[in-house]
């Protein structure tokens, strides 16, 4: 005769061989966990999830920031301007951030003569708007629902031009980032062409703690009745274990291959290189008739190498590219409230040059900020660290 077992201890009840007793999960009597099919799916999911957790992968960053370190930090393309400009920034408060800015410019083909912009940002909301002298508006609004979900709206309205509206949703998982965006979407459920506009979905997944692979799918139909266009881009990014160098590569749907490399050389020096190969087709025209008689594949390539030196009072950027362009951008804070900008570019092959000079004034809209700009705190005592405005 066996010894009686306490009834509340289910784990000691003898079982038929091959059939395991209910686990604590199963004994909770939920339909989903006791049902063999769904429990198999849930278990498999949990297994994969715990395996994913055990790999201790981190978030790879967004697809948009894939080669941010090179193309937006080191290179000066997005800072470059021509002609003369003056920015008058006025900060009203730092937390939440609220500032307005007036930009005057002459001698530039791209910058408007005057633009007013306003910015407001707190922990989960970012709103920015820019209205220029041609009455064209560009505005953006980002709202973070929680720390993993960000919705973005981007609007551009110009007089006499079609306006542009882009809706974007960013999702950050523990080891992947997904993004969905659509440009000028319109729906027509009762015609054959349900969706018009551009839709882009992308996913970047960390495979190992340092290596991420990604995919971007694009679908576009610009006008009703015109054939739709679709494409897939492949992305990859490798961050070194010490995070001091990054390699990223893209194979884009339009036939471009982009490889970039970034390295933090020392605490205030960064260097980067980017190579772009763009494959395309050019039509061959008949020399006599001028009619197209065929197409010829071409590849255009360019390589840009650059460095950025960042110090407390100044930032220097310089690039050289394989098409013979040498460019630099210098930014120096000469007073706590005044910075000077200089940028220049020389095209050695075409014998062209561009030049830009600018002044940036920082003014204060409140007493506290005015004192901070002069290196004092609200009571008039000197601050320990220089203000990061």
């Amino acid at each position: 005769m066996s010894t009686p077992v306490a009834l509340n201890d289910f784990s000691k009840i003898p079982t038929i061989p091959g059939v395991s007793p209910l686990t604590t999960e199963q004994s909770r009597q939920s339909f989903w966990s006791s049902n063999p099919i769904s429990s198999f799916i849930i278990d498999t999911y949990k297994q994969i999830h715990s395996h994913r957790q055990s790999l201790s992968l981190s978030n790879p960053g967004t697809v948009e920031d894939l080669n941010k370190e090179v193309s937006r930090d080191v290179f000066l393309n997005q800072y470059f301007f021509t002609g003369l400009r003056a920015d008058l920034n006025k900060a009203f408060s730092l937390n939440p951030a609220f500032q307005t800015s007036h930009t005057f410019s002459i001698g530039s083909n791209t910058l408007p003569t005057y633009a007013f912009s306003a910015l407001f940002a707190n922990d989960d909301l970012f709103v920015q708007g820019n209205l220029d002298s041609d009455y064209s508006l560009s505005g953006r609004l980002n709202y973070g629902w929680n720390k993993n979900n960000i919705s973005k709206i981007n609007v551009q309205i110009a007089n006499g031009q079609p306006s542009m509206c882009q809706l974007e949703q960013d999702f950050k998982g523990s080891d992947f980032s997904a993004n969905f965006k659509t440009l000028n979407p319109s729906f027509d459920l009762f015609s054959e062409e349900v969706f018009n506009g551009v839709a882009v979905g992308s996913l970047l997944q960390n495979i190992t703690p340092n290596f991420a692979l990604g995919l971007e799918v694009l679908y576009s139909r610009s006008q009703k009745g015109s054939p739709a266009d679709a494409g897939v881009s492949y992305l990859t990014r490798y961050v070194s274990p010490k995070k001091d160098w990054i390699f990223s590569g893209q194979m884009q749907a339009n036939g471009a291959l982009v490889a970039s490399f970034w390295r933090k050389v020392s605490a205030n020096v960064e260097a980067g290189i980017e190579t772009t190969l763009q494959a395309g087709m050019i039509p061959i025209t008949d020399p006599v008739m001028g009619t197209p008689i065929g197409i010829q594949p071409t590849i255009e390539g360019s390589t840009t190498i650059g460095a950025k030196y960042e110090y407390r009072q100044s930032v220097y950027r310089g690039t050289i590219d394989s098409n013979g362009k040498v460019a630099c951008f210098l930014e120096r804070k000469i007073l706590p409230t005044l910075s000077v900008l200089f940028c220049g570019e020389i095209d050695q092959f075409k014998q062209e040059s561009k030049l830009g000079c600018g002044l940036q004034f920082e003014t204060a809209g409140s007493q506290e900020l005015l004192m901070m700009q002069q290196g004092l705190d609200a009571e008039g005592n000197p601050l320990q660290a220089p203000p990061q405005l």
Partner: protein, 61 residues
């Protein structure tokens, strides 16, 4: 004859003597050249940025 009804591509250059292109020139005009040159630039650039030469360009403060 205006050349209107000739085979396209034969009209203008047909009369001129065509110089035979050398192998190198042919290679220079092919898309492969761009790929190789830029590939070499990229590899050289990465090697340069990764080398101690780049560190020498970073001033010690």
């Amino acid at each position: 004859m205006s050349g209107m009804f000739q085979v396209p591509g034969q009209g203008a250059g047909a009369g001129m003597p065509r110089k035979p292109k050398s192998k190198f020139q042919e290679f220079r005009e092919s898309p492969m050249y761009t790929v190789l040159v830029n590939g070499a630039f990229f590899v050289a650039g990465v090697a340069f940025i990764h080398s101690p030469l780049m560190e020498m360009l970073a001033p010690e403060l």
